[in-house]
Amino acid sequence: MRKQERRAWICLLLAFVLVAGVGLFGYRFVTKGGEWATFYGNSQIYTDGAINRGTVTDRYGEELLTCTPDGFDYSDDYETRVSTVHAVGDPKGNVSTGAITTFRSQLIGYDIVNGTYDTTANGKKIALTIDANANRTAYEALAGRTGAVGVYNWKTGEIVCMVSTPAFDPADEPDTEAEDGEESSIFFNNFLSGLLTPGSTFKLITSAAVIDNMPDRDSFTFDCDGVNQLGERDDTKLTDIHAHGEVDFREALAQSCNGAFGALTRQVGAETMEEYAEKTGLTKPVDVNGIETAAGSFDFPDDNDVKLSWAGIGQADDLVNPCAMMVYMGAIANGGEAVQPSLIKSATFIKEISGGRRLGRYLDEDTAAELKSMMKNNVVENYGESNFEGMDMYAKSGTAEAGGTRPDAWFVGFTDDENAPYAFVVWVKGGGFGSEVAAPIAARVIRTLGETSD
């Protein structure tokens, strides 16, 4: 009989396979349960394919959307609906960055212990970090142009304003189908998913590389003749709008001199430029409560001085994501340390004091301080402090040649007030000059943010 006894291990093997299989399923249950439970096939929480519970509000409790078994109930105000649609989402799920899609399990109130069990069937209320009022202002300021406005608190990481245009009214959704990555689409969130030519705003990255790698930068001068011919041929020049004359490093940034920054880029070299594009977080996606932003890309050739120069001033093949740019601005403001942006308001008091989750050090403290002072200088020398009354403004404009008939207008930077520590990015497609078009939008939105407070 002993043989038969010994052979019985095979039954244990089967039992092991059964338990192991259930174990594997248990692992999936823990990691993917929320995704499964919120699948549209779950008729407990979906009516006709639409989620039937949960409320989305702005940071001050203004209701943006209530999901009911009878359908989606949006805000009564048209402008609120249009300006927040990329943050809140649409009934058909075309906006991939909307709260309906990305924070579905929080809306339903799924948790692993209770699943979708909910005695009220009202779901949960989630407060977004955005200020609906600021969103409306930003939408108005964009005035029908394609663009993006993003503002976040660089201490806590809360995104207080996020608008992307063109937008649409989710209560009266158009029948067009969303196409993947189609940037002109009304469903596309330029702020989180866009990849754009940064133009002169990229000089803030080049400047960081210069500060860290050129100890003799104070003796740097460049004589700008407005053409700045590099080689023999006609297409090898770094034109400026007008001749800046002799400029030093500080002035070069304030005047946004392409010739001078081309020269600086060549001195720093391709390898260092690549390193700084990475170091400043532009080549990696940013995680915003599980939404991944698009990752920027650059090409710094070490055998083509002309192309390298153009890449150093934010042209050539340079592509950045506005959100990543905003986080970099926040890092400069925060002494070099970047704070992760978030869209869901968490009630924890600790976060208010200790700040948001750190993404790591982008710049040395000294580097950040020098950049900060140069950005102040930009405002004083070029943009005019009077345009930002009541704000301690630090900024850089950009006017990017992105193939359109008119250049794209950029304005990026931050304010450093105890109650208004905001980093921002404004982009207006075909808007024209950054300092003329994008800067007033930034000023208007930040002013609005000051109107209401927590």
């Binding site: 009989m1 038969q4 006894e5 095979i10 089967l14 059964l18 299989g21 407990q44 069990y117 005695t119």
Partner: protein, 595 residues
């Protein structure tokens, strides 16, 4: 037995009286929930925690008791070799030989590896049979014919290749000692606390079902749960009074059956009574089989009859069968429809088992192989590939237990795999299930071939760890949810913890079967328990893994839990094979015993 025969013959008036009481209770609960809707909702919230706690208590106590109590092997005598060597005989069936795995291992050259069989009959009587050894076996100088077995007594001289030996019975003192040791064996856990816990669980289930389903719930469905409770108490009290002590397996089965009735009440209240009656037949079969199988000779003799009956049953199915979900595995007799293949499972296990002696008999093995092939052929013709897979896996394990030939085990598996591929070629609808396998969440499958699996996982995950409460689920509106997808059904209504506990129960039964064969009386019981375990395990695997996309969906039932009369009845009857192998003191069913 009289306790439950009352239920078999209960007359209609009695039933109506009981139904009236239940209806009153139902009405009261409904009134209560109408008057205090907020409170009613909160009852479910609290109940969910209590259900999980009770289930964990019931099953863990039963599982721990099953796995922690072991039987001490008894010494039946000594194999005493002339000139040195004294081997204790601890089994009823023993191989004498040079082989290290021989039960009486005599490492001397003249012995063959497997020289002879020594089988204990009654007190002091032994049977011996030569296994075709090289040097032959002589008893008292008489050369044994390898085809025959011989009755011998202690003191008879057994000569194996010139080595003389005798069997001596253990001394009286030793026997007393042994009995004493066995008394010291840890007793199985007393059933009363578990019984009480199950009863509370059942009563709470009734309240929960009414709260969630309201007037959709029928008095009949609730009555079935009350009757189950009554039968459970009657069964345990009767056999406890008769001296039986080990009830863990029945406790597990009663608990699983409670979930079965709750699932049925939630999805199809009208079928609850049918489930209950099927369970009663299963329970009766269990008791009958345990008593019948006590006599090994009698059990061995019935094999041929069972083969004939199985063949007839399968042929009837082939000719008169009706299709359900693609497989033609149902027959209808009047208003009753049943699955013959489920019943054949019971016979299949018994036919595959064999006493040690039979395992050396080529003809016996051949009959089993031919019968298996016939069953597989019939199941394939019915397109019931899930059940075919269960039969085949059981066949593989049983032949491995019998022969120990691992290479043949692998070869047969590979050959069957190749056959399976051929079948897939001719049955495109099965092949298409393989396409979706592992990919059910992909857009082209999730609402099509993966529909059932994605719903199982989605609704199941929606239940969380604690479930939404019996009757509150929505998976029930998906086809076959209370049979093929029952794992997801339980996950949604009862929660992930209870669903996993159900699987652990099945795993425990098989671990138990393996642990307790050490003291087994005959390989016959060993093989019975192991092959019943294999069947339960494979069936559970196919059911659970199919529903959650770890395996293609084959459409088989979860033992005890899936709705379906034939399946529930067979599950209960199958328990007999585990009970028969339970060698713990007083663990089997007894009608008064001498020990």
């Amino acid at each position: 037995m009289c306790t439950f025969s009352a239920y078999n013959h209960y007359d209609w008036d009695d039933y109506r009286k009981e139904a009236k009481v239940i209806e009153k209770i139902l009405e009261q609960i409904l009134n209560f929930s109408a008057e205090h809707p907020d409170l009613a909702v909160n009852i479910t919230t609290v109940f969910r925690w209590i259900f999980v706690a009770l289930a964990a208590y019931i099953l863990l106590v039963a599982i721990v008791s099953l796995l922690s109590t072991r039987a001490t092997p008894e010494i039946w005598g000594y194999y005493l070799i002339d000139g040195g060597g004294n081997y204790p005989i601890t089994h009823w069936e023993n191989v004498i030989g040079r082989s290290r795995s021989a039960d009486i291992n005599v490492p001397l050259a003249p012995m063959s590896h497997n020289h002879a069989l020594l089988i204990r009959r009654d007190e002091d009587k032994w049977m011996i049979r030569d296994l075709g050894s090289k040097n032959g076996t002589l008893v008292n100088g008489y050369k044994l014919d390898p085809e025959k077995r011989y009755l011998i007594s202690p003191g008879d001289v057994i000569e194996t290749g010139g080595i003389k030996a005798t069997i001596t019975p253990p001394s009286l003192e030793e026997t007393r000692n042994n009995r004493y040791m066995r008394r010291l064996d840890k007793e199985p856990v007393a059933p009363w606390k578990i019984l009480l816990a199950i009863t509370v669980f059942q009563m709470m289930t009734i309240v929960q079902l009414v709260l969630s389903m309201g007037s959709e719930m029928t008095a009949q469905a609730l009555l079935s749960i009350v009757l189950l409770c009554a039968v459970m108490w009657a069964y345990v009290m009767f056999f406890h009074a008769m001296g039986s002590r080990g009830f863990e397996m029945e406790m597990i089965a009663f608990f699983l059956s409670t979930i079965n009735l709750a699932v049925t009440a939630s999805s199809d209240p009208g079928s609850c009574m049918k489930e209950f009656i099927a369970l009663m037949i299963g329970l009766a079969l269990l008791i009958f089989m345990v008593f019948y199988m006590r006599d090994l000779g009698r059990t061995k003799k019935i094999k041929n009859t069972l083969i004939v009956l199985s063949v007839i049953l399968l042929l009837i199915n082939l000719i008169f069968g009706t299709a359900k979900y693609g497989a033609t595995n149902w027959i209808k007799v009047g208003s009753i429809s049943l699955q013959p293949s489920e019943i054949v499972k019971l016979a299949f296990i018994l036919i595959g088992a064999g006493a040690l002696e039979e395992l050396y008999d080529k003809k016996n093995t051949l009959i089993y192989a031919v019968f298996s092939l016939f069953c597989l052929g019939c199941l394939a013709m019915m397109s019931d590939f899930g059940t075919a897979l269960i039969f085949f896996a059981t066949y593989l394990v049983v032949s491995f237990l019998r022969s120990g030939d691992f290479s043949r085990f692998v070869l047969t598996g590979v050959a069957a795999g190749a056959m399976g591929l051929i079948v897939l070629k001719f049955k495109p609808y099965i092949a298409s299930r393989f396409d979706a396998w592992g990919h059910v969440w992909e857009p082209q499958f999730m609402d099509d071939l993966g529909y059932q699996q994605t719903r199982t996982m989605s609704f199941g995950a929606g239940g969380g760890l604690l479930g939404l409460g019996a009757g509150n689920g929505s998976l029930k509106y998906v086809g076959a949810s209370n049979t093929d997808l029952v794992f997801g059904f339980v996950m949604e209504e009862w929660g992930f913890i209870i669903a996993v506990l159900l699987v652990l129960c099945i795993a425990t039964l098989s671990i138990f079967a393996v642990m307790h064969i050490v003291a087994g009386r005959s390989t016959f019981y060993t093989i019975l328990a192991c092959s019943a375990a294999t069947m339960f395990l494979v069936q559970t695997m196919l059911n659970v893994f199919g529903a959650i996309d770890l395996f293609p969906l084959t459409g088989v039932t979860f033992p005890f839990v899936s709705t379906g009369g034939t399946s529930l009845m067979t599950s209960w009857a199958m328990l007999a094979y585990f009970k028969a192998a339970d060698m713990r003191r007083n663990a089997g069913l007894s009608l008064g015993r001498e020990d």
